[in-house]
């Protein structure tokens, strides 16, 4: 007992020292910048200048402008659609890679294949969709040659659809990874036990497999959400400027040195992300699962 009491203060000290670098790092590069953005969002912006006199002008401008509010809704709509498509494409993939493939080697190889697109730069991955989806792109050429269509499909590129296709492809792997990880951790005996108790495939999936993979779904959804909500490059490259996300607005505002408005949008984006992440974390207790 005396041993234990003696070691408590020492352990406390060690904990403090171990935490220090992280705390300094987060304070310097996360907390301070966020406070700075909040502060700047209340600055006074004139056409060519910005001063630190506090004002609500930028905030009022954001909430009274259809363009800005519209882009908030577009961001949320695209986020929800991409979340759904990455889940619909990603979950079956993860189920195959993480659970149905029996050999560990093969499932590792398949996961690596999922990551191969990341060997090229983000922009190239996005831009590669242009020759695929364009009016004279690969998909239209193939469909025309096969004779399924007579006229090239024009809605494929420079529409919301192309943005969704591009984002789904880019972010799908972030959904697949965590789900496949959780599925791979499921003890196969559990599934055999359920089968032995007479449960069919559907019941085993909904009562056993899906609940056990839920933490992976939540982690994947958080990854995809954070990245899609902050997106600007995919929409910039594939929408032909028709789809304006909050991220695109930040880019244009910063480009024209409108720091105050960029900060307002930044704060709103951060709040939206905070709400989304908090919401997801309510679904499962990740502390217990990981």
């Amino acid at each position: 007992m005396s041993d234990a009491t003696a070691s408590v203060p020492r352990k406390d000290n060690t904990t403090r020292w171990l935490l220090l670098p992280g705390i300094i790092w987060m304070a310097l590069f996360l907390v301070t910048p966020i406070l700075m953005i909040v502060y700047v969002s209340f600055w006074t912006q004139t056409t060519f200048n910005i001063s630190s006199d506090p004002t609500l002008a930028s905030w009022k401008q954001f909430f009274s402008s259809d363009t800005y509010i519209g882009s908030l809704w577009t961001t949320i709509r695209i986020w929800l659609i991409v979340l759904a498509t990455t889940f619909i494409v990603g979950y079956p993939t993860a189920l195959f890679v993480g659970l149905l493939v029996k050999s560990k080697t093969l499932s590792t190889v398949l996961l690596v294949i999922c990551v191969i697109p990341f060997w090229t730069s983000f922009l190239i991955r996005v831009l590669a969709w242009r020759p695929m989806l364009g009016k004279e792109g690969a998909i239209n050429i193939i469909l025309l040659k096969v004779g399924i269509i007579q006229q090239p499909i024009e809605v494929l590129l420079f529409t919301e659809l192309s943005v969704i296709i591009g984002m789904t492809q880019i972010y799908c792997v972030f959904m697949v990874g965590p789900i496949a990880f959780m599925l791979a951790r499921i003890d196969r005996n559990i599934i055999e036990a359920a089968r032995d108790l007479g449960a069919g495939f559907g019941r085993i999936f909904w009562k056993i497999i899906f609940p056990l993979s839920l933490p992976g779904v939540v982690v994947g959804a958080i990854f995809v959400s954070v990245m899609v909500l902050g997106e600007f490059a995919t929409s910039g490259a594939l929408s032909g400027r028709k789809v304006n996300l909050l991220g695109n607005i930040i880019v244009t505002q910063v480009g024209s040195l409108k720091w105050a408005m960029a900060s307002v949008v930044g704060v709103i984006l951060t709040v939206v992300m905070g709400i989304v992440i908090a919401g997801f974390l309510r679904i499962v207790d990740l502390k217990r699962e990981l």
């Binding site: 559990i190 055999e192 036990a193 089968r195 108790l197 007479g198 449960a199 009562k207 056993i208």
Partner: protein
């Protein structure tokens, strides 16, 4: 056996080049407790998985209650399986685990009936009051009971247990051993129990089936197996015999302990002389005695509670064990690195040989 509830007929299973089960034929009666004993890799778990329906045999047939179930899927067999690591559903409570098969199985029952029967099972395995605990909030022994209750809730006629006590500590193992027997006797189900522990197999089974390299090498009651092992391999797995190599010729066994007359020997592929650990006697080196004599150096002893195991090293390098039951009197102490003479009454030896009658 005319009341055979369960029958294996020439079951063979290979994994690539490995012959996991080789022509296994076995009858199991109603309300019997059968232990499968064998070293790891002997095919005992494969056998259980074939019976359960998780694996299909390459050749041979499996019969259950007079029906050929060789190609019936696991859940249609009515055979319960208790997994080695229990395989509980980690996200469900004790009650939900026990009720899973009742609620989501082939013939789902109404919720009230599921609750009633799971409560009954939970009470039977002695977990009343823990229904709403998560399975990660209970101890290993309790998890074992949940696994058992979950299987028994389906009212199987045959329950397969894959090393059910392997994951428990020694103390708990003894208690669960008694409890398994009690539960089985109460319900009148047939239990097939796979184990790598000779003590467990001998203690629990009405019948012990010894497996080696995919074959049944002996099958009989615990005392039959213990008193008359059918082959040197069985004697080896029982872990109760000192085995000596040598040659059997003209009723004489010539080994490192001298030449000893053999009253009767069992037929086997090689000549082996087996003496139970508890039949060994230790004499001072100077003593002269008739019969087998083996010079050996005392190495160490191990206290087992009811007996003491003494380990001796013989000149050839082998280790000979001698068990002293404490009920027979206080143990003698031996000096480490001291030479002694080991002997035994040849009538107690079990001899295997190629030229046995």
């Amino acid at each position: 056996m005319e009341t055979a509830v369960f029958r294996l007929d020439g079951v063979t299973k290979r994994y690539g080049d490995l012959l996991a089960l080789d022509q296994v034929t076995l009858d199991v009666g109603v309300n019997e407790y059968v232990s499968f004993l064998g070293p790891s890799g002997s095919g005992k778990t494969t056998l259980l998985r074939v019976i359960a329906g998780f694996e299909a045999p390459d050749t041979g047939r499996v019969f259950f209650e007079g029906r050929d179930i060789t190609h019936l899927p696991a859940h249609e067999r009515g055979i319960g399986f208790v997994f080695q690591n229990f395989a509980l559903f980690p996200h469900l409570t004790v009650r939900q685990n026990v009720g899973f098969g009742l609620a989501f199985g082939k013939n789902p029952l109404p919720a009230a009936e599921v609750d009633r029967r799971s409560a009954e099972m939970i009470a039977m395995v002695g977990l009343a009051g823990m229904e709403d605990r998560g399975v990660d909030q209970i101890s290993g022994g309790q998890r074992q009971r949940v696994a058992l209750a979950r299987t028994l809730a389906m009212q199987p006629k045959l329950v397969l247990l894959d090393e059910p006590l392997g994951a428990l500590d020694a103390n708990l193992r003894g208690r669960m051993r008694n409890e398994l027997r009690a539960i089985r006797e109460r319900l009148g189900v047939t239990f097939l129990h796979v184990t790598g522990s000779e003590n467990e197999a001998l203690a629990m089974g009405d019948r012990v089936v010894v497996l080696d390299r995919g074959r049944i090498i002996q099958s009989g009651t615990s005392d039959e197996i213990y008193d008359t092992p059918a082959s040197p391999d069985v004697a080896h797995y029982l872990n109760r015999f000192n085995l000596f190599d040598g040659t059997l010729a003209d009723g004489q066994f010539r080994g490192q302990f001298g030449t000893v007359a053999v009253p009767g020997a069992r037929r086997a592929a090689r000549d082996v002389y087996a003496v139970g650990y508890d039949r060994m006697r230790v004499l001072p080196l100077s003593s002269s005695a008739d019969g087998p004599k083996l010079k050996a150096t005392f190495v160490a002893s191990e206290y087992l509670g009811s007996s003491i195991m003494n380990f001796f090293e013989v000149d050839g390098g082998g280790v000979v064990e001698m068990e002293h039951h404490l009920s027979l009197g206080a143990p003698e102490t031996y000096a480490p690195k001291q030479d002694y003479l080991l002997t035994w009454n040849p009538e107690h030896a079990i001899v295997f040989g190629r030229e046995a009658r």
